[in-house]
């Protein structure tokens, strides 16, 4: 695997929602990143429905049908549906397949009857627990690949939210330990992704399916979530920002192994990934309030190709099921963006989205297209190793944060950031040295097995 050494976009100014340098075409002809933004709805089954394959099929049938029907009712021209596997669907790969097959059939019907352009992403659950099993060698690992094989027969796109390095990340995030984030996310997570995605891409190719991409959800979103909003006291916002910058190193690996996008919605690092690779990305923001909060609800649409809601549990609302309601909301968001494209106001519209959240928090600040591009540049300019590029990304984002006087910090956030940057600067330059250091430092972490990462 060759580490990226150049930027797909010459500058952030060229980046805009709806268009990616390398668009992706799905089975029913829908093009992602091909000039307009497409909503991606993610319904989630209700508790209890996972008990039998029959009830789970019925649950997804309803949730997906409601979404498709709502498209026709309000005139949404195109939609992508994502079904994230619940544990049972990957643990019984046959289940995942039956649901994928049913969904593909539903899409076909709407495509035939109404001309609704639609595609389907199936996201396999990473059921490997780094601290409990050998990541490359366990029954659960086998099941994951089986699930990929089965689901890719029917899905347009396959994805995963992989868990490599999670044991070290979890240990570090609650200890203010940015070294541990580098090690867990970039070194371990990146290695796990390389191994995983080499295999996934093969499977996808064999089944004429699109290898979508991965996310550092397990790490950077945990950090974002814990940093929370303006009354949380879990971790400082600045640490979440650094975790996000670092995550580029591992998430990028999926594309370096042959994934072509669209990137997973929950990968808030996707603007940086798009700047480097030119692949189409799915992002989520304000409508994902249904699942978790972030402080960049508008900003995240600035360079999206698909616009998503993270995951909405199926339930009844006055206006129809939650799946229908959120499809409608996403559909209108996309319509406004596409309207801007059609009118030639996309740059002005983008500016409004960015300006809404640029200084709302350190985490949102680094995801603005200009900063995202700059961080991407640091990544490709320091491509000696997964480690070196992650460290460069973190340092760059620190620099950016400190240099913009409009970005405000609480005293604690600022203090912490100063400490993180000092710590990062003091780290060894070579990945090998860094790994040696970390293997020692984290040897006592419960369940950490270097062999899981071939170390």
């Amino acid at each position: 695997m060759k580490l990226s050494n150049s930027m797909a976009y010459k500058s952030a100014k060229e980046m805009i929602f709806g268009t990616a340098l390398k668009p992706v075409k799905t089975k029913r002809g829908l093009i992602l990143g091909g000039g307009y933004v497409i909503p991606e709805i993610v319904p989630h089954p209700r508790p209890g429905s996972e008990k039998t394959i029959k009830s789970l099929l019925r649950e997804f049938e309803r949730a997906n049908e409601d979404a498709l029907e709502r498209c026709v009712i309000v005139g949404i021209p195109a939609i992508q549906i994502e079904n994230e596997h619940v544990f049972q669907m990957t643990d019984n790969p046959q289940w995942g397949m039956e649901i994928a097959a049913q969904t593909a059939h539903q899409l076909d019907e709407y495509y035939e009857k109404y001309g609704l352009k639609c595609s389907y992403r199936s996201t396999i659950a990473d059921i490997r627990k780094p601290d409990q099993i050998d990541m490359r060698n366990s029954e659960r690992t086998d099941k994951i690949f089986e699930a990929f094989k089965y689901s890719s027969k029917y899905a347009d796109i396959i994805s995963i939210e992989s868990l490599g390095g999670k044991e070290i990340f979890d240990y570090s995030i609650i200890r203010n330990d940015v070294t541990g984030l580098l090690f867990g996310q970039a070194v371990l997570g990146g290695r796990d992704m390389e191994w995983l995605w080499t295999n996934i891409v093969d499977i996808a190719k064999n089944n004429n399916c699109i290898p979508g991409g991965d996310t550092s959800c397990a790490h950077a979103n945990t950090a974002m979530f814990m940093a929370g909003g303006f009354i949380s006291k879990d971790i400082p916002q600045t640490l979440a920002a650094l975790s996000r910058a670092i995550s580029v190193s591992n998430t990028l690996v999926a594309y370096e192994c042959g994934a072509v996008g669209p990137g997973k919605d929950c990968a808030y690092e996707n603007p940086i990934i798009k700047a480097i690779t030119g692949i189409p990305i799915s992002t989520e923001g304000k409508a994902s309030a249904c699942a978790h909060m972030d402080l960049c609800g508008n900003l995240m649409a600035a360079v999206c190709d698909l616009w998503s809601n993270e995951a909405i549990q199926y339930t009844d609302m006055f206006g129809g099921s939650s799946s229908a309601v959120f499809t409608e909301i996403l559909g209108y968001d996309a319509a406004a963006l596409n309207s801007a494209i059609e009118l030639g106001f996309q740059k002005q519209f983008q500016a409004c989205l960015i300006n809404s959240d640029r200084y709302r928090s350190p985490h949102s600040f680094i995801l603005c297209p200009d900063n995202a591009w700059a961080i991407g540049k640091a990544v490709v300019d320091n491509n000696e190793s997964l480690y070196s590029r992650a460290r460069a990304a973190a340092l760059k984002s620190g620099e950016l944060m400190f240099n913009d006087p409009n970005l405000q910090f609480t005293a604690f956030e600022k203090e912490s950031l100063t400490k993180y940057i000092k710590e990062l600067e003091a780290l060894p330059d070579k990945e090998d040295d860094f790994i040696d250091m970390c293997l020692k430092k984290y040897s006592k972490v419960k369940g950490f097995k270097p062999s899981s990462y071939n170390l």
């Binding site: 000039g35 307009y36 026709v72 309000v74 005139g75 949404i76 021209p77 035939e112 009857k113 109404y114 001309g115 609704l116 352009k117 009844d316 006055f318 319509a335 596409n338 309207s339 494209i341 059609e342």
Partner: protein, 249 residues
């Protein structure tokens, strides 16, 4: 069918894409006069129909006009509505016309025409959202049932009392508020207590299948247009449980 505007990025007018080829009503009678009556029903022209019926009543038996013209025409209307050609107001206007026509015939007959059966309809206590019920009333009327219309915001006990008195083949309820739908299980309970196992069709935006099938007698009605077929089943002797199995689940 293939998409009409492959390039439309903002919205798609699916209604225009799929607009049903505009079918017209079929001929229902060889008799010129009866066909004219049916035509008036199909076009929902009440005034014209009344004049027409008045004049034909001189040359035809009332029951012949009812069956051969009025009801035959209404059947065509129902067909067009089910095909998606007709919209609701067209059905309502036709139904109004038919009722007016039948009234004239009944005057001549000297007795009311026999209805298929009685049905009771209401909108839940505390709820004034009764448009759903109004539609149900019109459709059941048009299908030949005697509709005991209790109106909106009807106390639980009044519904039970009306059922006790009228012994309808079905009773319907409409609720659009989650704070009013709770009246339905109470009504069902009350009916069972006096041994009236009447199928209780519940509809309206607030209720769903899960809720309505959580109490005895309840059958969930998704669309007002299902009301006549539901009544038909009850008329044919299906129990509430059989009806629920057929329409829900």
């Amino acid at each position: 069918m293939k998409p009409k505007s492959e390039t439309n990025k903002i919205f798609t007018r699916y209604d225009i894409n799929v607009e049903v080829a505009r079918q017209t009503a079929r001929k229902v009678s060889e008799d010129e006069n009866l066909q004219k009556v049916a035509d008036c029903i199909v076009s929902g022209n009440e005034d014209e129909l009344e004049n027409l019926v008045k004049s034909i009543l001189h040359i035809k038996e009332p029951m012949e006009i009812i069956n051969g013209g009025l009801i035959a025409g209404m059947k065509e209307v129902s067909r067009l509505w089910e095909l998606g050609v007709y919209f609701l107001p067209q059905v309502i206007l036709s139904s109004d016309s038919m009722i007016a026509g039948i009234k004239l015939c009944e005057q001549k007959l000297g007795r009311p025409m026999e209805k298929k059966a009685k049905v009771v309809t209401h909108t839940a206590e505390g709820d004034i959202h009764d448009i759903g019920q109004v539609i149900v009333n019109a459709l059941l009327n048009a299908a030949g049932y005697e509709v005991i219309n209790l109106g909106a915001d009807v106390p639980v006990d009044d519904v039970i009392e009306a059922c006790r008195i009228h012994k309808p083949i079905i009773v319907t309820g409409t609720a659009l508020m989650t704070t009013t739908m709770t009246a339905f299980p109470k009504i069902a309970f009350g009916l069972k207590q006096i041994n009236l196992n009447i199928p209780f069709i519940c509809g309206g935006g607030a209720v769903n299948e899960e809720f309505v099938t959580s109490f005895d007698l309840g059958i969930w009605g998704k669309e007002a247009s299902q009301a006549p077929a539901l009544a038909e089943d009850a008329l044919n002797g299906l129990s509430w449980l059989e009806m629920r199995t057929k329409w829900n689940g």
